[in-house]
């Protein structure tokens, strides 16, 4: 045990000084700050340009209502939409259409809208513009036009629009999760937490698994393995390496957590120094502490399960190129939950999800996300954890045999058949 500690110590002190670790550790808080600040900055600077739009209104009744609802302001208080009405001239619609098209090309206007007089017979309204890919903008225009047309229809049928509008108002609908018999936060927030934790788990397992693999390969390449084995058992070496890396991962989590707390506590006043007017950061999402406990449990177990495999790949192959196709095989069960994420979060208690949350390799990520979005029976959580632990024990037994032989094999790329024989050797 003392020797494993020495290996852990070395592995840790070397790893936290690598460029990869320092960059990785700094990039995430920067992304966090980005996520917090970017939307605020975006609302500040959102297209400062005024949009000039011409409107051909053959009905003569839509335009006024449309102008009333298109009253958005830019950040500096100017009107966002500058609308002007165009009458169809002597040459008919064809000529006017051509004229407006030239104006758009010459940048005199940004676009024009054609409201046919048949609009009440369900004929469409056409919007011509230089840029029609901005979906938000398109929807904004569609919404206002829709309102204006509907209002006219109601009037035509002899009703009072304000009454109808009031009667047909949308209901307010809110989804509230119930866990352990208590009301919990809104559905959107749980979705977000599950999503973030799945990604965190996926990224850290992937990243640190690869670090373990590289570290093993490095020792093979520098031919130091056998020197180490004169004082260590292969198992000590493997265990020390994996645990050392795990500790590095924890350090990174810790630094990120500290950053997150700092950003949420002191972020607002600091950001306000740079951006006017002062901003409101989203509140710290209130995450039940048990979810953090599960995050750590599933991180440790998932990480152990996968890093054992990565360590073995490092021991079998001489470089990352040789190992690449096998890395992909390992990644499939890790990737599967991410690909199925929408399904899993949407159906946290379907039988497919339950089975996947019990199968080792997919279970760490899927069980964690189930815990985030619903409350799976405790027996399933315990079962998942026990199956994971059992799998890790079996895996260590097989893998340490392959590792023992593999780390001393230099030179040519071994075949799978040979690797299976290694299990029998020692």
């Amino acid at each position: 045990m003392g020797k494993i500690l020495k290996v852990i110590q070395r592995e840790y002190s070397v790893s936290v000084r690598t460029k990869g670790f320092i960059i990785g550790t700094l990039i995430v808080p920067i992304i966090m700050i980005g996520f917090a600040v970017l939307p605020i900055i975006l609302t500040q600077v959102k297209s400062e340009k005024q949009q000039k739009i011409s409107v051909i209104d053959e009905t003569g009744v839509i335009y006024d209502e449309f102008v009333n609802t298109m009253n958005d302001r830019l950040g500096d208080g100017r009107q966002k939409y500058l609308l002007n009405r165009v009458k169809v001239g002597m040459g008919g619609f064809e000529d006017t259409d051509k004229e407006l098209r030239v104006k758009v090309t010459n940048n005199e206007i940004d676009g024009y809208i054609y409201i046919s007089k048949d609009v009440f017979k369900n004929k469409g309204i056409d919007y011509y513009a230089r840029n029609v890919t901005n979906l938000i903008e398109n929807r904004r225009i569609q919404y206002s036009l829709n309102r204006a047309v509907v209002k006219q229809r109601i009037l035509k049928e002899g009703f009072e629009p304000s009454v109808v509008m009031k009667l047909t108002q949308n209901i307010s609908f809110q989804s509230i999760r119930i866990a352990e018999g208590e009301k919990k936060e809104g559905g959107e927030q749980t979705f977000f937490i599950a999503y973030v934790f799945m990604l965190v788990l996926y990224m850290t397992i992937l990243l640190y698994g690869q670090f373990v693999m590289q570290s093993v390969m490095e020792e093979k390449k520098s031919r130091i393995v056998e020197v180490l084995l004169s004082s260590l058992r292969p198992f000590d070496l493997m265990a020390g390496k994996i645990l050392g890396m795990n500790l590095v991962g924890f350090t990174q989590y810790l630094i990120w957590a500290v950053f997150a707390v700092l950003i949420f506590s002191f972020g607002e006043p600091i950001i306000s120094l740079f951006i006017e007017p002062s901003v409101n950061l989203p509140d710290i999402p209130s995450i039940p502490p048990m979810i953090f406990v599960y995050l750590i449990i599933f991180f440790i177990l998932g990480y152990l399960l996968f890093s054992g495999l990565f360590a073995t790949l490092g021991a079998i192959f001489n470089n990352e190129n040789e190992a690449r196709s096998y890395v992909f095989v390992i990644l499939i069960p890790l990737l599967l939950p991410i690909l199925m994420m929408v399904y899993i979060i949407g159906n946290p208690d379907s039988s497919t999800t339950i089975i996947l949350s019990l199968i080792p390799f997919t279970s760490p990520i899927i069980m964690l996300s189930r815990i985030c979005v619903s409350s799976p029976p405790i027996i399933e959580i315990v079962g998942s954890v026990l199956i994971l632990i059992l799998s890790i024990v079996v895996e260590i037994w097989v893998v340490s045999r392959i590792y023992r032989v593999g780390i001393l094999m230099y030179g040519k790329k071994p075949k799978i058949g040979e690797v299976l024989k290694w299990i029998k050797y020692s």
């Binding site: 003392g2 020495k6 290996v7 031919r223 084995l229 004169s230 058992r233 001393l408 230099y410």
Partner: protein, 303 residues
């Protein structure tokens, strides 16, 4: 009883890799203060044998005991092992590297400091201790590697091809230290296929070929048993008399002198009488066979 007094005791070990038998029924006993050469051509099974002694590979059958005990982690601390494939962490500092190895070799912190200081001074690389390994020259890295092997004050040293790739200065330096360790009663087993080195250093040899022990024992005994039928003759005159002589089994002309292996029943004294009138002899020397010769012939015979 015997195995208790032996520092290294190997009895009938066998190791197979699939169809290939790497080591076949090998036995070896080494007492205190002995240097033994584990000799053999490439692929003979030297490294496999050494790895089995170090418990890196486990033999299929047979027994290995060190200081009367089966190999375990505590015992490893009393052994100095220099593997054939050796290297260092290129990005670690000399001091950090040595301290790490002291840790896994079970040397206490204070003791480690003293020993590291002693060996760095002794090998004249103390000025480099704050440098990273990859900033050191090849020769300096070899010195660090050698320190790692011996700084735990081992009872038994196992060196796999220790002189390979060494410059002549380091070769001499390490040879001196190995002999000094022998004086202190350490037992040393080293593998090599360079016979000149083995000849200079070894008390005993163990020659293996294709995994089998084909010759082992005290070096001087082996030489004596191998026969004294080789003579070197420096002469002037017609060398054909050697070529045509019926007394001679083997004939090697080196220009200035000939190396002759006499037939088994031929006495060197009577051979000298036979030739003394025919050529002008300047030197006549009865030779012990060189280890090189013994090696080549034994291996050929066993093949």
């Amino acid at each position: 009883m015997v195995q208790n007094s032996s520092v290294l005791y190997i009895s009938g070990i066998i190791k197979k890799f699939g169809d290939l038998t790497a080591v076949k029924d090998l036995s070896l006993k080494l007492a205190k203060g002995v240097i033994c050469g584990l000799l053999g051509p490439n692929g003979a099974g030297k490294t496999t044998t050494i790895r089995m002694i170090m418990n890196i590979i486990i033999p299929d059958r047979g027994e290995i005991k060190i200081l009367g005990k089966k190999m375990d982690e505590k015992l490893k601390e009393k052994i100095g092992y220099l593997p054939e494939e050796r290297g260092l962490y290129p990005k670690m500092k000399v001091d950090d590297l040595l301290s790490f190895f002291a840790g896994i070799k079970g040397i206490s912190k204070n003791e480690a400091k003293n020993r590291i200081n002693y060996w760095l001074e002794r090998l004249e690389i103390a000025d480099w201790r704050a440098k990273k390994i990859n900033e050191l020259s090849k020769g300096m890295q070899q010195k660090i590697q050698f320190i790692l092997t011996i700084f735990n004050d081992p009872m038994l040293l196992i060196l796999d091809e220790p002189f390979i790739g060494l410059d002549p200065i380091n070769t001499e330096l390490f040879k001196d230290i190995i002999l000094e360790l022998k004086q202190k009663g350490k037992t040393i087993l080293f593998s090599t296929h360079i016979m000149e080195q083995a000849e200079k250093l070894c008390d005993e040899i163990c020659l293996i070929n294709k995994g089998e022990n084909i010759l082992s024992g005290k070096l001087n005994q082996i030489k004596r048993n191998f026969g004294k039928n080789t003579v070197i003759v420096e002469y002037q005159g017609d060398g054909n008399i050697f070529r045509n002589s019926s007394d001679i089994a083997k004939y090697n002309d080196y220009g200035n002198y000939v190396e002759l292996e006499l037939k088994e029943q031929v006495e060197s004294q009577s051979f000298l009488k036979n030739i003394i009138d025919k050529v002008n002899i300047q030197k006549f020397e009865v030779m012990e066979p060189s280890l090189n010769q013994i090696f080549i012939e034994s291996v050929k015979k066993s093949n």
